[in-house]
Symmetry: C2
Subunit: 275 residues, 2 copies
DNA sequence: CTTGACTCTGACACCGTGTCAGGGCCGACC
DNA sequence: GGTCGGCCCTGACACGGTGTCAGAGTCAAG
């Protein structure tokens, strides 16, 4: 018979934990002195304690450990738990490894520049949206080519939406696709999110943008004429963190007024996949 | 200006978390309606939110994130945090990978045997102990050779300890070393833990056993004459989990009475290292 | 009997997040 | 102007595994 302290030392557990295991019925002392309340353990209980620790070490919760030790799950149930746990662990190792890469990149950046810049890339899932849109064609991706095309589209879009009594349900949004057959030209979509069903609705097209499982995003502050550095930072991030751009980029106009475009806030979104 | 719900959607955060960040001063809403208490956020605050999320994603605590965002740590401090975090992550990935291997081994075992057996190997650190000991020489590691040598040593040891007024402070303990020059013969140490200083104390030697950073241990139930299967299980575990035995094995007699040796409880300890 | 080491219970803390209850506010529609 | 659905407010509790503390009781050696 060991006192709780001795038993704890033998089993390499804290006294606190032995009391906890007693409280939740996971490992009861062999006897408890009814007068003093002292717990006394027998050497043979080390077997159960050992099994308990082994199971816990694998990452099972105490509730699961109890189920296994008390034989309320059979081999099949245990197998299931372990498979689940293995999946969790694999996921976690992958995530941690990715984090390690990001941290290492950050450290390099600090060492080379002495400070952190553009720490604002966020990896997100994009939900599907419905968008009422107008389109135009620009000569290239350059902001100087895009702006004159996209600017006039918005007032016109708003006007046409009013005609069909549709109201925007969210921010304005733009995206770009290459034009087939012309490697330089860009099809510019100017839209706003709406609740209406997709399909042609009067003078505007309502299209459904699909969900994107992973998109690298960055928030650009200031006029869209100066978006290039922000876009470059986003592209650099994608490359440094081992992703590859996939699909067309979107811009989300979170804040914009024609009077003060330099105060605009725009989120740039680029779908990415693991190469 | 966005309501908390809209802002949460934009930033891919839960409303709950935005309120929490407000409460701990990590991200305050741009304005709060004093009458209703409604929080309102500005688009430009997405910048801070984005930085916050990026830092958090690396595994910094919210307190650390706040320190970084509020510029109360410089690049050097941030570097330190990230290095620390990187070390933690590396450790965790290593540990998780090891766990994965163990789980995979267990799954194989379940699939081949239909159930879990001998799930009682525990990896421990052994603290240094002081031991009063007597020694003898056995012909081989076989229990049939060891027993006749070790059995008589204990009564003699107890007798001699009484002579010098030393009392055991813990369980009995045995360990074995090969005899130099004779590849088969084994030097058997029979000891008990004591508090006394090391060095010769009258008729018994008191030696200090060093700490062991990692030892694979298993608890054997029953007579030591039947220790072989348990020892085999321990050896199998060591091999399956990618360790290598290093140093001499110890036995810790947690429970023993001469009248009922079949009720004995003994912990077998084998120091191990990563190969 | 004294003393020091041990044990008892019960409580609080950590951390990041979800969830619930009970009540107030906003805006769209009639 | 009234009503209603959806949003927002605060405050609280929960999770899980463990540490730590306070205040009181117990054990065993001298």
């Amino acid at each position: 018979m060991f006192t709780i302290g001795d038993f704890a030392r033998l089993g390499r557990v804290s006294v606190r934990m032995l009391r906890h295991y007693d409280a939740i019925g996971l490992l009861r002392p062999a006897t408890v002195d009814p007068r003093s309340g002292y717990r006394y353990y027998r050497a043979e209980q080390l077997r159960r304690l050992g099994q308990l620790l082994a199971l816990k070490e694998l990452g099972l919760t105490l509730a699961q450990v109890r189920a296994v030790l008390d034989d309320t799950v059979d081999a099949v149930g245990l197998r299931g738990m372990l498979m689940l746990r293995r999946a969790q662990l694999q996921e976690q190792v992958a995530a941690d490894t990715a984090r390690l890469a990001v941290i290492t990149a950050r450290l390099r950046m600090i060492d080379s520049e002495g400070r952190m810049t553009s720490e604002n890339v966020v990896l997100k899932e994009l939900s599907p949206v419905r968008v009422a849109e107008l389109t135009g064609i620009a000569r290239s991706y350059a902001p100087t080519d895009i702006s004159p095309v996209i600017q006039p589209l918005y007032p016109e879009l708003i006007r046409r939406l009013e005609v069909v009594q549709l109201r925007p349900s969210g921010p304005g949004l733009a995206w770009y696709e290459p034009v087939e057959g012309d490697d330089d030209a860009i099809l510019v979509h100017a839209g706003v999110t709406v609740d209406a069903d997709p399909g042609p609705t009067g003078d505007v097209a309502v299209v459904a943008l699909p969900a994107v499982p992973a998109a690298a995003t960055i928030v650009h502050h200031g006029s869209m004429d100066e978006v290039e550095p922000t876009l470059l930072a986003l592209a650099a991030w994608i490359e440094e963190n081992g992703w590859r751009a996939a699909g067309f980029a979107r811009e989300l106009y979170l804040d914009y007024s024609p009077e003060a475009p330099e105060k605009g806030v725009t989120e740039l979104q680029i779908p990415v996949v693991r190469p």
